[in-house]
């Protein structure tokens, strides 16, 4: 962004904090962007003549006589088909050595979709992973995060889901991504020959944290262009939203706001909702699906960030290492896809909902049996069988390295039921049992 002639330049800063600076200026619009000694900043508070700016890259080295120029607009991005295959920083400037992108300039973080104009999400996204397709089916227009501890392979699973999802565009919003993970995504997309479908906005751990606040809006405004104007199926990957929320708390702290739970700003719910609610199925066919990552600390989902996220998103996916089989599985208890009801048993086989529930119930029985065993009690015959079932179920369906279609998942489910149980132990509707119970 360049300054043009005849713009008023202010040179007297009255206050500087770690993330903000204030000065006296007139005619400034709320949320307008400015350059402070060339660094991008945004208006966050105006009181009379005093304007407070949030400087995205931090205030280190900003002098009280820094040059401040207001640009008369909110942060924008230029959108066009040229974005495809490119890598950008949080400001939308190329970081892949390529030329700047030309296109229509739109403000980021624009208005929301009129709820009556939305369409009900209805298209199943097959991933081949049974822990997702069978138990937590994803649908276009959905928003769902992985709740994961930092040591879990969430970025790998997310990349796998993205590549198998057959989206027209995949937009990666990386916030506080380590350089290694950034290169991981770049390589895996490149190797899959999918680079021309990918657009990335990357803020790595090397960049200042407050810059991250721009990444989701950049990614989602781009997504809206492709989904709304080009009617494309767009998948947005946001990792890691916990680091985004941390950046929010830094800014609110510098602005002397009273923190609510876990030192997070009181507006955390609205701030996160504004991002996630960009997931939408448009009436003309395009869609935005958001798959995000929220890292947890020690699996604690009562922390304000995962807690607020859980109330906004349409479910959540948990990964967990199953020591019985030595693999990472999609946890069937705590994972949930709220939109699965729209497709399972409708776009998939009729027995899908009941097979899914019966298997999870039996898996829960196995967990109880395990507790019994750990407490030193004898197991009865039923307990023994649930334990055997649980091991097979985990290995053949829940593990993240599974890649089969949904009918095969259901058939596998029935086979495992028949191997370990009799028909009355399932609690499944009789007509379905008659139809699908393996004949031999």
């Amino acid at each position: 962004m360049e300054t043009s002639a005849f713009q008023k330049i202010y040179t007297k800063i009255t206050q500087i904090t770690k993330a903000t600076c204030s000065l006296n200026a007139q005619g400034v619009g709320y949320e307008e962007i400015a350059l402070v000694n060339g660094r991008l900043a945004q208006v966050v508070k105006i009181q009379g003549d005093s304007v407070t700016l949030q400087i995205f890259s931090g205030t280190e080295g900003i002098p009280t006589n820094a040059e401040v120029v207001f640009l008369g607009k909110a942060p924008t991005i230029k959108v066009s088909d040229e974005l495809a295959g490119r890598f950008f920083n949080a400001y939308g400037d190329p970081i892949d050595g390529g030329p700047a992108v030309d296109g229509k300039e739109v403000e980021i973080g624009g208005p929301s979709v009129n709820p009556v104009r939305r369409k009900q999400p209805s298209e199943l996204i097959p991933t081949g992973i049974a822990g997702i397709d069978l138990n937590n089916t994803l649908v276009t227009g959905q928003k769902i995060p992985f709740f994961a501890d930092p040591d879990q392979p969430f970025n790998q699973v997310m990349a796998m889901v993205a590549l198998r999802a057959k989206a027209d565009k995949i937009i990666l919003g990386g916030m506080g991504l380590s350089n290694d993970d950034y290169l991981f995504f770049k390589n895996i997309f490149d190797n899959a020959g999918a680079l021309d479908r990918i657009i990335s906005f990357i803020n790595t751990t090397e960049n200042p944290p407050v810059e991250r606040l721009l990444v989701p809006d950049m990614a989602l405004t781009t997504a809206e262009y492709f989904a709304h104007e080009k009617h494309e199926k767009v998948l947005v990957l946001l990792t890691d939203m916990t680091l985004y929320a941390d950046a929010l708390s830094i800014v609110s702290n510098r602005m002397d706001q009273i923190p609510s739970k876990d030192s997070m700003p009181g507006s955390l719910y609205s701030d996160l909702a504004k991002i996630y609610e960009k997931a939408v199925q448009f009436p003309e066919g395009g869609s935005i699906t958001i798959i995000a990552v929220t890292t947890l600390s020690g699996g604690d989902i009562t922390h304000a960030i995962p807690d607020n996220t859980g109330y906004i998103t349409e479910g959540q996916l948990f990964l967990r290492r199953d020591t019985d089989i030595g693999k990472v599985i999609v946890d069937p208890f705590r994972s949930l896809s709220r939109l699965k009801q729209l497709v399972i048993g409708k776009q998939t086989r009729k027995d899908h909902p009941q097979v899914m529930n019966a298997a999870i119930r039996l898996f829960a029985d196995a967990a109880n049996a395990k507790t019994k065993l750990e407490n030193g009690f004898d197991l009865n015959d039923y307990d023994e069988r649930t334990l055997k079932f649980a091991k097979d179920y985990s290995r053949e369906l829940l593990a993240i390295d599974i890649n089969i279609d949904i009918d095969s998942m259901l058939d596998t489910g029935w086979r495992l039921f028949a191997e370990h149980f009799n028909k009355t132990e399932l609690g499944i509707k009789d007509e379905l049992v008659e139809k699908y119970w393996p004949k031999n």
Binding site: V28, E31, Q47, Y311, K372
Partner: protein, 585 residues
């Protein structure tokens, strides 16, 4: 002369305005942003400075922008044409807005000014009337919609004339009233009312004495909601709050349902938009949408309008109650409304209460719940608002300010339990922690005795005791081991499981199981209590589990079958056979 002002400060959606005249608390004003008027509400006044919360994004707003004060509080428009509409929190008709994206400062008319309504007069010339008196009637969809003396009218009036039967538009004069001083006042079919004020055009509000049937067994049977009563559903995310609210909104025995989506997911509202026009109302055979109005402020819509949305819903409910209708108001979720209050309180730098919520949160919540209720109208007819709200407690911890404040205000408590949800025991309402205060009301007990059975209240109490004892037995078994407790414990545990699986658990996605009328609930309750009262012969504890598992499986099949159908009776016979085999003699 109207008050005007200029913007002097902007912090997100808190805008400080210097006014040139009198300003009142909660007054509405419009702030001009490059030709677009943004609606805002005064929430604090300090000298000539009015602190306003803007119902829209303030992006691009500048110091010095012009402000016009309107001289009234936030109002809704009441009249025929509200039914089946989809409104935003400020009662803008969402269907009339153009484009896929919401435009800032676009306000649409809540009632269609061109629509013609077939009016039938009810009041006679010379009749004495007061606010809320019925002057006539139009048919709104299928519902008789009363045209009333505007609620703002004080004192008594004499009807000078009422229009003859015929077609009129909402803004046409349909009656002329004469006030006590002899002044004539014209009345149309449309009126306005400030949302934060309760409509009190009724004679008295007795204690609720009837049950509002919802078809959800664990509610109706164990902890019934009274008609005109209040209840709330707190629960961690993923426990089925929304599914439960949708089930209630589809099945409840009410004339009109108002669903307020307050700061929740847009796709959930879309589900209602998509399905309600298709789904049949089991009671009338019409489509569900024909008895529903939706107030929708989803989580990405302006925060300040969230607070307005629950009041808008309540005011519309009060309007229909005054027509003698049975209204059910649902709000999902009241926590989002409390959070909106917190955001504003925070921006105004007020001293915070617990968890940074404003200090008066408990008072705000109980005042709101108090607006529900069963009423006798001035003409002797009855009407009611039953209110069911959800609460989204942070971290699923029920010891947080919104849950605690609501607990003091609401009479039914439906606690959703994470463990039940994890083991897919839906609806995940905890049978032991939840309660309905109405079960203790003598008038409700009397009602249940007369409408269901003489022993019903005792049966319900017994079922609750069985569940509690079953839970205790299960804990004992877990501590001492299967063979460390008497066989009785296993039997006790499994008899409680029968109630859990057959009565409490219900498949909200099965066309038959999703809604159970009282008659069927009574029948099933009889069945499970018979099993409880039967003594069985078990040689070892290992025989207990398979026996009850088989019984439960048959009962589940029964729940999926048409009531008293051949299939249903077939399963019943099988159950009886199994019981007879095991019965102790």
């Amino acid at each position: 002369m109207a008050t005007n002002g200029k913007v002097t400060g902007i912090i997100a959606n808190l805008v400080i305005v210097e006014a040139d005249g009198p300003v009142s608390q909660n007054e509405i004003c419009f702030i001009n942003l490059k030709g677009v008027d943004l609606m805002a509400e005064v929430i604090k006044v300090l000298g000539v400075k009015a602190y306003t919360q803007v119902f829209e994004s303030t992006r691009g707003l500048k110091i010095g922008a012009d402000v016009k004060f309107m001289g009234h509080m936030l109002e809704v428009t009441l009249g025929p044409g509200i039914l089946s509409r989809n409104y935003d929190g400020l009662q803008n008709d969402l269907d009339k807005m153009e484009g896929v994206f919401l435009k800032r400062g676009e306000y649409t008319e809540s009632l269609n000014p061109e629509a013609e309504w077939e009016f039938t007069p009810m009041a006679k010339t010379g009749e004495k009337v007061e606010a809320g008196s019925w002057l006539g009637e139009v048919i709104e969809g299928w519902m008789p919609h009363k045209i009333m003396v505007p609620f703002k009218f004080e004192g008594t009036y004499t009807v000078k004339s009422v229009n003859a039967k015929g077609k009129y538009k909402t803004k046409d004069v349909i009656a002329v009233l004469t006030d006590e001083k002899g002044k004539d006042i014209e009345v149309t079919m449309m009126q306005k009312w400030p949302v934060k004020m309760p409509i009190k055009a009724y004679k008295e509000k007795p204690r609720p004495f009837k049950i509002m049937e919802t078809g959800v067994r664990t509610m109706d049977t164990l902890n019934p909601l009274a008609e005109g009563g209040t209840g709330f559903v707190p629960g961690p995310f993923g426990c089925g709050k929304t599914v439960l609210q949708h089930a209630v909104s589809q099945q409840a025995e009410a004339d009109m349902i108002i669903v307020t989506a307050c700061g929740e997911r847009a796709n959930e509202v879309v589900e209602i938009f998509t399905e309600f026009p298709e789904l049949d109302d089991p009671r009338t055979g019409r489509k569900l949408m024909e008895r529903t109005t939706i107030i929708c402020n989803t989580s990405n819509m302006p925060v300040a309008a969230r607070e307005a949305s629950v009041y808008t819903g309540m005011t519309i409910a009060e309007y229909y109650r005054s027509m003698g209708l049975k209204v059910l108001l649902l709000a999902d979720s009241t926590s989002r409304w409390a959070q909106a209050l917190r955001e504003m309180s925070n921006r105004m730098e007020e001293l915070p209460g617990p968890d940074a919520f404003p200090m008066d949160l408990p008072a705000i919540i109980s005042n709101f719940y108090a607006r529900a209720g069963f009423v006798y109208l001035n003409n002797g007819e009855t009407g009611s608002i039953t209110f069911l709200g959800t609460v989204s407690p942070a971290g699923g911890n029920l010891k947080e300010p919104v849950t605690e404040s609501t607990k003091k205000a609401a009479r039914c408590f439906y606690a959703l339990n994470q463990d039940r949800a994890d083991s897919k025991r839906y609806p995940a309402i905890d049978p032991i922690d939840s309660y309905s205060k109405y079960l203790e009301y003598p008038e409700i007990q009397e009602y249940l005795k007369n409408s269901i059975s003489e022993t019903w209240v005792d049966d319900v109490t017994l079922a609750k005791d069985i569940l509690l004892r079953g839970k205790e037995a299960s804990e004992q078994i877990n501590i001492l081991g299967d063979d460390g407790v008497p066989i009785d414990y296993h039997e006790r545990y499994w008899k409680a499981e029968v109630i859990d699986f057959v009565i409490l658990q219900q498949d909200a996605f099965d066309s038959i199981d999703k809604s159970t009328p009282f008659e069927r609930q009574k029948f099933m309750m009889g069945q499970v209590l018979d099993i409880y009262r039967t003594k069985f012969n078990f040689a070892t504890f290992e025989e207990v589990n398979p026996f009850f598992k088989a019984i439960i499986n048959l009962f589940k099949q029964m729940n999926y079958a048409e009531f008293k159908s051949e299939k249903f009776n077939g399963y019943l016979n099988q159950i009886n056979e199994k019981i007879n085999e095991r019965k102790a003699v």
